[in-house]
């Protein structure tokens, strides 16, 4: 995909910082100072221990497909041109689960090992995933 994707992300706080990281080709995760627990999606408190002190660490960008669906029906005009597209839940190797899109050449499957790549649009850089064995840029 090139040009504008036409999605307006009105993120605030830590979620805005995560999107800023994506723009730089990073996959930042919040990590709790008290428990060491990685969390996603962004939140001010740790879902494991409630502590509110945290710092950012970049994820390795690798993980496993927890589940997926390939969408054939556009529920919004902006995704009409994407069809079909695959939404995935990726369990990152650091622990958190992330909603993303799967763009690999290999058929998506639960348990498939995947790696992040960054899809750059004029208005947004989106972290997507492909199978680890897929050729780069495929």
């Amino acid at each position: 995909m090139t040009g504008r994707i036409g999605i307006e992300v009105r993120a605030t706080g830590a979620a805005a910082e995560a999107w800023a990281g994506f723009r730089e080709g990073r996959l930042p995760l919040q990590r709790c100072e008290a428990s060491g627990h990685f969390r996603h999606p962004p939140a001010e408190g740790c879902p494991r221990c409630g502590d509110r002190a945290w710092h950012w660490e970049d994820a390795a960008g690798t993980g496993t497909i927890y589940s997926f669906t390939t969408v054939h029906h556009a529920v919004h005009p902006i995704v009409e041109s994407w069809l079909p597209y695959t939404v995935v839940l990726v369990d990152l190797d650091e622990g958190p689960r992330m909603v993303s899109r799967y763009v690999g050449a290999t058929d998506p499957a639960v348990g498939l090992r995947v790696a992040v790549r960054f899809e750059e649009h004029e208005d947004l850089t989106i972290p997507v995933f492909a199978a680890m064995d897929d050729p780069p840029g495929g």
Binding site: G6, I7, E8, V9, R10, A11, A15, A18, W19, H40, P41, P42, P47, Y66, S67, F68, T69, T70, V71, H72, H73, V75, H76, P77, I78, V79, W82, Y85, V87, L89, R97, M98, V99, S100, R101, V110, G111, L124, I126, V128
Partner: protein, 383 residues
């Protein structure tokens, strides 16, 4: 518990009501009051879904209710299905109210369409904000994760993987839900699909919406209203007793979970045990079941969550037709949200009440106990 559902009513269900949501609410509430043998002047409580466009203030003016002593509301759409009844029953038992309206009225097809996530996204631009997933969440919508059906499709693929089902086995299980509920709907005059039968062959040729779900796996956006009246059981001669009604929320158990530890479990074992203990019953005592069937997947998973069969056994139960007429656990006997219509689950509660009164279009012989679940709220009713 000493509370009961004293009366129920619904408007016609359609794809274009040609009237306002407020008018639908009033029609349903007036009908439920008449069914309960009550007048607007008797009402002192209202419990609403936050998603509803009709406020308690609107309704008391429009219905001629002199004073409310109790009003509350439940978030998260379908999750409110049994929670509105839980709040009403708690108000009755505590003495905060004596006659409580629960209602839901929406133009779900001709107005704001839930299946298109218009509540969150806007119609023309894809704006993503807030935390909600799916919907407008800033870490969900930009990936095309937009509708509840997308999450439910992922529940299905997860379940398929856990239990080693082939595509055909999964399709047969989900298709059994769709085909059976459509058959129930043929006998229900209110059902939006009445007159349109569905065979398994037609089901499996249905258009794929989001794998593995086909068009017949998804509930039907509907215009309509449903209302219930909750009072003390000894004030409800034709009512059904509320043995237990519970709501619960656990981390990542939002209305359509995707971040929870195991997404193919919709109601946790602890929540199920608490409900059944409070009702002093087990799954074996339940004669008729209502499941918030946003998709066919919800029915398959709820059968296991509530112990109607073991983990991984729902496809066999469904293949044997145990959810159908004469089966071990007749489920969504009005046709459900899939085939009667989607009135945000409250029509499933109405059907449970009518079963226990012997007034269902698909009456289960001798039905004494009904269970209704919408994942994070559930209840048990008894004749």
């Amino acid at each position: 518990m000493s509370a009961a559902v004293a009366g129920v009513a619904a408007t016609a269900f359609s794809s274009e009501s040609q009237t306002s949501e407020l008018a639908l609410a009033i029609e349903a509430i007036r009908g439920a009051l008449a069914d309960a043998g009550r007048e607007p002047a008797d009402v002192d409580g209202i419990v609403r879904y936050t998603y509803d466009s009709s406020s308690a203030q609107h309704l008391i003016r429009e219905l001629g209710i002199p004073r409310l002593r109790y009003f509350s509301e439940i978030p998260f759409g379908g999750s409110a299905t049994c929670a509105v009844v839980a709040h009403a029953a708690a108000a009755i038992e505590s003495g905060l109210a004596s006659c409580v309206i629960c209602f839901r009225a929406l133009n779900g097809r001709s107005g704001l369409r839930l299946g298109r996530a218009e509540r969150h996204l806007g119609r023309d631009t894809l704006v993503s904000e807030g935390e909600m997933a799916p919907g407008g969440g800033v870490l969900a919508a930009p990936f095309g994760f937009l509708a509840p059906s997308h999450a439910m499709a992922m529940w299905a693929h997860r379940y398929q993987h856990l239990h080693g089902l082939t595509d055909e086995q999964l399709r047969a299980a989900l298709g059994a839900v769709a085909v059976t509920q459509r058959a129930y709907a043929q006998r229900n005059p209110r059902a939006v699909t009445r007159g349109r039968t569905l065979s398994y062959d037609e089901y499996r040729e249905g258009r794929v919406i989001c794998t593995p779900l086909r068009v017949f796996d998804l509930c039907r956006e509907t215009d309509g209203g449903v209302a219930l009246i909750v009072t003390r059981a000894d004030d409800a001669p034709e009512g059904v007793r509320i043995l237990a009604a519970r709501q619960h929320i656990e981390p990542w158990q939002e209305q359509v979970p995707v971040y929870s530890e195991e997404i193919s479990c919709l109601t946790s074992p602890g929540a199920v045990a608490e409900l059944l203990d409070a009702a002093s019953c087990t799954a074996a005592d339940v004669d008729v079941l209502g499941v918030y069937d946003g998709t066919t997947v919800n029915v398959m998973l709820a059968l296991e969550d509530f112990g109607f069969c073991g983990r991984g056994e729902a496809p066999d139960l469904l293949a044997a037709g145990e959810h159908g007429p004469g089966g071990r656990i007749p489920t969504n006997t009005s046709g459900g949200l899939l085939s009667e219509g989607h009135v945000h689950g409250l029509n499933l509660v109405m059907e449970a009440v009518q079963q226990l009164r012997g007034r269902s279009p698909n009456q289960v012989d001798g039905a004494r106990t009904a269970l209704v679940t919408s994942r994070s709220s559930s209840m048990v009713l008894a004749a």
